[in-house]
């Protein structure tokens, strides 16, 4: 399929387990690479809510930051993966908006840390639109409100194409984070948009706002919706 102008292709995967979503990311990475070679430029933003819940351990992850045994996770219906992204341990599940930007970083500065800061900026913009004062932390990548993390970030870059991404707690059941030391940080907490705003926050609305922020921060002309089957 041909994208109009310099548009971001947005693929809403709905509720999907971690494994199939990872396969979808790999296909997207391949498309971006191929597009670079044949001149049919394409970049993706995959949006997903992981179900069943899953705990993933990034490359900097330490086993002791997982506080439950594999048997206990299985009994709770939680999947477990070791992931190729950067970062430590995190949780994904219903009520959390996970975004996997598969971007050609040759077009966005070719800088690993600038990319991380840009991804943070999309979430800071989204929070601002909701009247929330998000912030970065010098020591810890991610997006924070006060001392609590609302969005975890862990990315991977191969041939300057990004994958993995961010996990924003919209109405996540935060009790699940008790099974881990989130991102390996013991002295901080986690929060969600629903908790911060004291009201129900629809995931689809939040996803729309995030798409707008990605278009703005990464300088796309606009966004084009793409069916999951087209990837």
């Amino acid at each position: 399929m041909e994208l109009q102008g310099d548009n971001l292709a947005v693929v809403r995967l709905g509720r999907m387990a971690y494994g199939p979503a990872l396969d979808t990311q790999r296909r997207a990475v391949e498309r971006v690479r191929r597009g670079r070679e044949d001149g049919r430029h394409v970049e993706y933003l995959l949006l997903v809510e992981h179900d069943p819940p899953v705990i993933t351990l990034g490359r900097s992850g330490k086993d002791e930051h997982l506080l439950a045994t594999p048997e206990r996770l299985a009994a709770l219906g939680i999947e477990y993966y070791e992931s190729s992204r950067g970062g430590d341990v995190t949780y994904h599940g219903p009520g959390q908006l996970v975004a996997y930007p598969v971007l050609d970083l040759n077009r966005h500065g070719r800088d690993v840390h600038r990319y991380l800061r840009d991804v943070e900026q999309t979430v800071l913009g989204l929070l601002g639109g909701l009247g929330l004062d998000g912030r970065r932390d010098e020591r810890y990548t991610g997006v924070w409100v006060g001392n609590d993390k609302v969005c975890a970030i862990g990315v991977a870059i191969t041939r300057w194409v990004s994958y993995h991404g961010l996990a924003l707690n919209v109405s996540t059941d935060l009790d699940y984070f008790g099974l881990i030391v989130p991102c390996g940080i013991r002295e901080r907490g986690v929060t969600s948009l629903a908790r911060l705003l004291g009201r129900d926050v629809p995931l689809a609305e939040t996803a729309d706002a995030l798409v707008g922020e990605f278009v703005r921060v990464f300088g796309f002309d606009g966004a084009t919706e793409l069916a999951p089957d087209d990837l």
Partner: protein, 82 residues
């Protein structure tokens, strides 16, 4: 055929000069194509695959998993196939 030194490329101006070796995709003796991933580096919350600059055979690793490496440091030796 020539043996070349493969160095750690820049991860960007903001990304600083250092990164940690996460793991090797290839061992000495393995054949690689140009652009194939040699090893994965870690920096902050990102992993970064270092591509092979040429087709050939990896002859030696010059850094190990867990090492801190500086941009420009030799990471491995590669016997090129051309």
């Amino acid at each position: 055929m020539a043996e070349i030194e493969v160095t750690l490329p820049s991860l960007g101006d903001d990304a600083g000069d250092h990164a940690e070796v996460s793991f090797w995709y290839v061992d000495p003796g393995d054949a690689v194509g140009e652009g194939d991933s040699l090893l994965q580096m870690l920096t902050d919350k990102a992993t970064f695959d270092v591509p092979s600059p040429a087709a050939g055979t990896v002859t030696a690793h010059k850094c190990a998993e867990g090492d801190r490496v500086t941009v420009g440091d030799v990471i491995c030796l590669l016997e090129t196939s051309e």
